[in-house]
Symmetry: D2
Subunit: 371 residues, 4 copies
């Protein structure tokens, strides 16, 4: 559904960038999960613009208010509605957009779809919509950690052609957040920063990739056929603004491998379970988690808003030019990190609940998770 | 939902590889679409194993029977159930699988999920499940062509490290089907064929990529936020067996570009509409089609079944080895081509119907599609 | 889904009676529908408590704020979030409820389901939840009137054993709202009022029925099989608090009739269409509207809160007694009228959109509605 | 969705009365439920026409074939597809229907909706569609009994004005099936039989009601707000052909009661739990089961096909007459009994699975069901 994701842990987001508010409703969060506004605020602060000189300087407070579903510090099992008021909407910056479509933005396509668009600042297509995702993702991430010990860590893995070396088996969120690029490879992070700075000075923008690892996913999550775990993750991550590609495990490099190189042998883990010494599968086989870390990578294109004159058309489809103005993000990657974690958490929380209903039998009682 | 895809054009598939039958039910196909079994059979024949020496030699007739929803050569608007009986199930080849998990197959994860598995030949995780997808996709593709003039063309774009040069603006299905590799770059196709042959002789397998172009999608299809057109396409394509990555438009290469290189300028098309001379966006902006060709690429890993001894564990989690036997596909790519087209068609048919309900207004009457 | 209704016109409500706010999100409302807060406020005012001496005296302002999805007086096609802050929450009245379950309320069952409950004033089970339904229903009703000329009129058809005589082919909303019982049979309305007053004085409550007619539904709405129009209406109306029964057309009285009495003969309407001189079918045949008025009736039980001592148990399951205190509704019927209209509108708006995708064919172009 | 019911235990039915087959696909049945074709066949035999002189004499074998999802006598967790071939389709009886709409049938409305209809024998609107429901319901009922000890018993509670006296706390399926009317009040059953016989001789038909009790539903099933347990049951039962009304607990009679009469006091059950000595609530409070028996009643109109001449219109909307011919059911009630049980089972199985995901908390581990 257009603005809802999830089958059991369902999240609906709402809001335009220059309307009164943005937010979300979570329906299906289990009851009795300890929850406070602070837990959500922490993730919103990571997403917030204006945190450093390399991201957009829009000053937004982004204070979240929980409107329902939480009572005396615990979830009730009822919908959790969360609200963030919009502020700092300098809409004069946008006057030109009334009559022109910005290249590689969604202005033209929204007009084509709906016959109307909120032309200031992107409206619903603005990255500001991700406030609702990150708020909901904070709840999902929190519950996954409490209930299953799951750790989700995303990080900037490349900016332009600069690639970082990151060990997904050990990387932590504090390591990622240590620098403003959110790249845990410190030496490379400085090079990325230099590149972003130089791009910004030229009024241009640059793309990159975000890696993400999830440690602690039990085996058995994900559904065969259409709702494969990697399929739902791909959908969640390609629904983020500016994303253009997704890989799980070996990804595109796997397409160049032989089966004998690619296959992940199983070995006993010495504790009654199994493991795979290699992880080309990225923790998912046949659409279902196998207990190994889930490994993903997402490609983001360069931000469409640049401070240069570009060819475009008017809303009447006549040729003209346009030039970006105001504040802009030369590189969306650092702020994409909490968004990638949020979407990953939403998909996993949904599959965690789904797996509770997969098995039954008169001899077995309620669902169990061991193989 | 596990075995259903689509919100308005909904397809449910069913069947295990070694059970009585596989098939699908389409719910939501509009009424009065001309439809016969031959239209569906044509696509099933393209998917069928045993077509050439480089794909699995399993002989399957795969004759489809339409059980409902079609009457006097037209769809009724009611569910279209389609059935293909299983045959040629040499299950003795599979006896070893009762007690061992095959590396990089779904044996272990199905057991982890359900506590039971149909261990002969992959069961529900077998590529045979795609019969239902291809049958349903044939109906979707047929309707998209009749109603909108849409052309969907997939082709093998690489095998291992061998890359083809294909022009998505002109490539046709007959060009693709002309050779058994389904690569329309004829010179490169021969090299791919040689590589696959040599891999097969060594009992190994090899991965590759499938490109796909869709020409004729009107602007306005796709939903903002979660059900972005590229997000739903990514999900559909990553739900195919053995797929590991997905790109739209510039994809991962877009992550290495500057905004000034990547942006697609708008120009008047001289007929009252617009076009973009470049197409980094791959025909989708802000999750919504812009009228330009939709461009995608999907990575497939090498087939997991190889004729070599590999380390694995027993179902009791003790170390052992296993060796593939019987028939196998050294390269899934040629047969993946109709599957990619089918999934693309299913996603587009769903969004075609969705778009019919996007707009309204007392002055406008029923939905219109012009900008 | 628990807190969402509708497949294309989807409404999610949120909020507890004693939390910060209640509200809703509409996803799927077509774009370009003229919409203002006043249109919604009008219906909320009809639902509001404290309007007359026979309904609860809680003073609530219930001012709605539209947070998103509307721009310059028109819908954008994006989610419409609406918010109503809670006020006047005298929670001391509720202290006893911490430790006791009220008879025929949802206290016990929420505790059984979730292991936690917001024990002040019913929480999510409070009739206050219907604020979100009525707000969303106002938008649906407004659009159905603008786009199709549909009129939805609900009215109190009985209180206790007192039955009104109402002509569904002519009754109007102003006639209904003329008296505080919302019964358009003026003579009977006074008797109802007297009964409610006498019940109130005894600290008791009384049930009744609400009739509802919808005029102007085109033929062809509703789906065969599970989503029959009457099935979805039944679900919508039985999801209202305190409802215990639903009838369409002849209803239970139809079960006592012969086929020769019950059948609705078709006749030409003299303008190229058809009509049925009788309407036992209640405007729906085989789950699909036939163009005649849709006729329904809903039974509501007496309000569970009464000012008398009743047997109950503690939360520890020990026998005790409880007595209602504070303000209460001796008869929910007058306030149920706008709720019944709202739920009817939500179901019809959903099916209006669904019908836009039911038909197609190369010769027919987009969906048409004529037989 | 039109032809699918359920959120977690999802059933899709397919098939026209005069096409090749009818059937269903169950998606979401837990794995490891013992299942055979015999279990399903038993319920299909109860539904089958031609069982006695008071129901239609169409001879149908209705042998079910399970196509998938079951392996070595247990469910796999994958879709269970079931097929019943159509036979005995005397379509010459139907030639007149090509050009005329039968009164109070779905001929006209299907034509209005789809612009096409399978005019022989009702097509999708035929009661034959319920084969798929009953087959799926058999699986649900079987699992509910094995896993929770739930008993579902439906029975004919009235035919025309003749009402039976049935004790829902004790009535059993064998008692119901003992006579061909399926009314467990033996004395009254004979009167019903006489009435049906006399109606049949006059070429007419007669309506009635079916009562249904469910014993053993744990407390906590059902969702607040839209998916209340009684709302989903109402939808399920009003989706049956010919149903016109639904009641839960006190139903319409509750609308004539005082709160002091209607409320169900709670009492300790002496074993740590609670009970209510009365059951006006019909086992559901606030949309959630309270552990008491669920009590329902469904009204069915008289069958529309009668052996008399009736006014109607041609497909060109001109006045004419029509007279039923061939075999017909003078009273649908006895065959409605297994259909009511099937729909009840489908709704309950869905809510059984939903409840598994309602609660969580770091201190509680997986969901528990005790209060």
């Amino acid at each position: 559904m257009p603005n809802t994701i999830g089958h059991l842990f369902r999240v609906t987001t709402f809001g335009e960038s220059h309307g009164p508010a943005v937010g979300c409703v979570i329906d299906g969060c289990p009851s009795r999960v300890p929850l406070t506004e602070e837990i959500v605020q922490l993730e919103l602060d990571r997403r917030r613009p204006g945190q450093s000189r390399i991201v957009t300087q829009r000053q937004e407070q982004d204070r979240v208010e929980i409107l329902s579903g939480v009572w005396e510090g615990q979830t009730l099992g009822t919908p959790i509605a969360m609200l963030v008021r919009n502020q700092d909407t300098r809409s004069r910056d946008y006057d030109e957009l009334r009559d022109k479509f910005r290249p590689s933005h969604a202005d033209y396509t929204y007009q084509a779809k709906y016959g109307i668009r909120a032309w200031q600042g992107g409206g619903r297509a603005s990255a500001r919509e991700t406030v609702g995702r990150v708020a909901a993702g904070a709840v999902a991430k929190h519950w996954l950690r409490l209930a299953f010990g799951i750790e989700i860590v995303a990080y900037v893995s490349s900016v332009g052609a600069i690639e970082a070396a990151v060990d997904p088996s050990t990387v932590t969120v504090p390591e990622v957040d240590e620098n403003i690029v959110r790249c845990p490879d410190v030496a490379v992070a400085q090079k990325m920063l230099d590149l972003i700075e130089s791009v910004r000075k030229e009024g241009d923008s640059i793309g990159g990739t975000v890696g993400c690892v999830v440690r602690g996913v039990p085996s058995g999550w994900g559904e065969p056929v259409f709702d494969k775990l990697e399929a739902d993750l791909a959908k969640g991550l390609l629904s983020l603004p500016a994303s253009k590609g997704f890989e799980v495990g070996s990804g595109f490099s796997g397409s160049r491998m032989l089966g004998s190189e690619h296959n992940d042998a199983f070995r006993s883990n010495g504790e009654g379970g199994v493991l795979t010494p290699t992880n080309s599968s990225g923790g998912i086989q046949g659409g279902i988690s196998n207990g190994m870390p889930v490994l993903m990578r997402v490609a983001f294109k360069p931000v469409a808003t640049i401070m240069r004159e570009q060819d475009t058309v008017t809303t009447g489809h006549e040729d003209t030019t346009i030039k970006g103005r105001g504040r802009h993000d030369p590189c969306v990657l650092p702020r994409a990190v909490p968004m990638v974690e949020a979407m990953t958490a939403l998909v996993l929380a949904d599959h965690a609940l789904r797996q509770m209903t997969a098995r039954w039998g008169p001899e077995t009682g309620p669902p169990v998770k061991e193989v």
